[in-house]
Amino acid sequence: MRLEIANFPVTDVIFGEKTSYQDGLLSINKDEALAIIREDEHITSADLVIARPGENKRIVPVKEAIEPRYKIADLPVFPGVTDRVATVGTGRTVALKGTAVLAVGEHWGSFGDGLIDMSGAGADYTYFSNLINICLVADTDEEFERLEQQKKNHALRWAAHQLAKYLGAVVKDLEPGIENLEVYELPPITKRTKEVNDLPSVVFVMQAQSQMEEMGYNDLVYGWDMNHFVPTLMHPNEILDGAIISGSFMPCSSKWSTYDFQNCPIIKGLYQEHGKTLNFLGIILSNLNVNLEQKQRSALFVAQIAQSLGADGAILAEEGYGNPDADFIECFVALEDAGVKTVGVTNECTGRDGRSQPLVTLDEKADAIVSCGNVSELIELPPMEVVIGELQSLTRDGLSGGWADDEKLGPSVKADGSIILENNSMFCGDQVLGWSPKTVKEF
């Protein structure tokens, strides 16, 4: 499978008469873009707002992030989601680099939504403060979940995917500079050279979010709910090319947005090492169901696939904490027992005082872990001049890291617009798919 990602670096985004891209300047015809959003009759109100790195802006509640992309020639960008089901991971995909489309609630937040500060101390807590964010701020008629803590956020998320594709199409006829062309090619496992085969062979096991029994909240692979899934082998290019979209459930710092899947640093890192220090076999996609037997079944499948492939090593990453820690450790142990040397990547939940057991369950066989953050770290941030979305959502709507009131700390949102929250609500902040510059240390 050979995938070309042609990147078009974006240095600024403005609104203009025509949606166009020239010399790094992305211009958006707002009316035309919003017309696409409004094709979904469930969107009752919508606006586009730009947030650039360094600006005094706070964005909340953020539900999803997507890199604007288009697939030559009009092939599915998000198969089984906004497009028909067809294989992704081959051919050419164009991308507007340095930008993300964000789905932002105009008023209403939910448990899995997060916060992004574009400058100041808060900017350190999320990767997305580094990007020029094209915020789709919208409201919907999804009355059944308006006051629910858990929301599917279907209309907003799907609209953001449509917008990402619309914007990506602006560069479909352009040829990138050679330095901006990424090529991902991995021959079939049995058709590799002796030199490559002699290197230690490695799989990347991705445990994507699937805890909700009701459909509509979990990550989707080719549009299929990850709860109704047993682990399978996938080509890394599929993940990089839109095969998986993010869900709407997990406490936000643990969540993997669609942008994270599209740009997964662990996959890119393994590609870089392929043929030099290791033989990258591919992805074993797994899940995080809550039922114990389902956890055990998934771990067995993962270990069996890794063993059948002859994997010497594995990197294992979980999209979540708490209940999913059981899947993480179960799978870690199953891989080690199958003779596959494993490194886990996860965040921790050690509590605000840092004294709690870091994972719900532990095992001595999990002897190699990269730790990406503590979800329950308390964070205080000053007010921002501009809020995109609605600040009150942090305190009102049951975001995982916010609260309405607290005996000692008061509400998450103060009268002057300053905030106190747990790291839990930093948008995709723990970056377990590989960006995380954070680790956890004992004090």
Binding site: V343, E348, A368, V370, G434, P437, V440, F443
Partner: protein
């Protein structure tokens, strides 16, 4: 009594000198060895023994030295703590030091007990030093700053220097780093950090995996605590002849809690006679209740047999299914209790069980 150089105080702009207090045992106070280990707690103005060295190294004045016999605090802990907290009640101090205790177990215990109590009462950081073999490390490293120390007093200067240097950072209000960098034993407190020149997680994971694949040494970022596995005991040969004891960490005690077992982080346990009782009476009847702070007490107070199932065991006894119920049950509280304390209490209880010829135990939690 040695005082700090007054010129230095002036050169710092007349700011009031910070103050600290040191705790040492009877031996380092020069009072005596084992024969003086019951020495009653006392407080002396100024510098006694190692306090002279600490006073030189620290950017604060050691105003007082507290001295206590290791046996005194070991056997009459609550009394010793009360006396010493009483000494300190009216005094102003910014830091509290204890030790160094080297490899001396009872001295380590004393430093930990008093350091923890002073820190909790006066919200002043407590700093100590112990050799890694000192049991005090495992018992108290989560409560106070303990620096790794030498085996004996030959290392006094080195050990005191580490304590003082860290104390100086705290006095200056400097941001202190994580345990590995500062040198003290980790306190079981884990927080996220941004390291200088940190590599992203993907690079760290791949580098760690390559090392693991090549059998090279690697450093996990989340050390898994060693689990002390206890093998499962052999089955009883004949249950109908066995004496069975009840032991619980569920905090069931007589309503007046005669042994003053703590509701959390317990260090004490009790044994209570149940011979002649068909079941445990409840709180309303003035008999038994739970003092465990880690779960809703309503059900346990209403029927303590749901935590300590004496009623069920009596039935088995009558039916001849088991030989006999042991005449006492044993109780402590499991919530927040350290493994080290739990293991010690377990060993102490087992001594009684062995003596009474108990064959098996029903161990209930909450």
């Amino acid at each position: 009594m040695v005082t700090k150089d007054s010129e230095r105080i002036l050169s710092e702009g007349g700011v009031e000198m910070k103050k600290a207090i040191l705790y040492i045992n009877q031996f380092f106070a020069g009072i005596g060895g084992e024969e003086q280990a019951d020495h009653v707690p006392e407080i002396r103005e100024g510098l006694v023994g190692p306090a002279i060295l600490l006073n030189q190294l620290l950017d604060a004045e050691i105003t007082h030295t507290i001295i206590c016999g290791d046996n005194f605090i070991g056997s009459r802990e609550a009394e010793a703590v009360e006396i010493i907290l009483g000494f300190l009640a009216e005094r102003k101090f910014d830091l509290f030091f204890a030790g160094p205790a080297f490899q001396a177990g009872r001295y380590g215990n004393a430093c930990g007990v008093i350091g923890r109590a002073v820190q909790a009462r006066f919200a002043v950081p407590a700093i100590s030093s112990m050799n890694k073999e000192n049991p005090g490390v495992e018992m108290f490293k989560k409560d106070i700053y303990i620096f790794p120390g030498g085996k004996s007093a030959a290392k006094m200067r080195d050990d005191m220097k580490k304590m003082a240097e860290f104390g100086n950072k705290l006095l200056k209000g400097e941001q202190t780093g994580f345990a590995e960098n500062e040198g003290y034993y980790g306190r079981g407190i884990r927080h996220q950090v941004w390291l200088k020149n940190a590599k992203p997680a993907a690079e760290r994971a791949i580098a760690m995996l390559l090392k693991k694949l090549h059998g090279e040494e690697f450093q996990t970022e989340l050390p898994i605590p060693k689990i002390d596995q206890v093998p499962i005991a052999d089955p009883l040969k004949d249950l109908s002849k066995a004496t069975i004891a009840l032991v619980t960490s569920g905090g069931i005690v007589p309503v007046d809690n005669p042994d003053r077992i703590q509701s959390a982080s317990a260090t004490r346990w009790g044994r209570y006679r149940i011979s002649g009782l068909d079941k445990l009476g409840n709180r309303k009847q003035g008999k038994f209740k739970t003092i465990h702070a880690g779960y809703d007490p309503a059900a346990g107070d209403d029927d303590p047999n749901r935590v300590v199932p004496l009623d069920a065991l009596r039935t088995y006894e009558k039916e001849g299914k088991i030989g006999k119920v042991h005449d006492y049950f044993y109780s402590t509280v499991g919530t927040g209790t350290t493994e080290a304390e739990a293991a010690r209490m377990g060993r102490e209880i087992v001594a009684y069980l062995h003596q009474a010829g108990v064959d098996a135990v029903v161990l209930t939690a909450t």
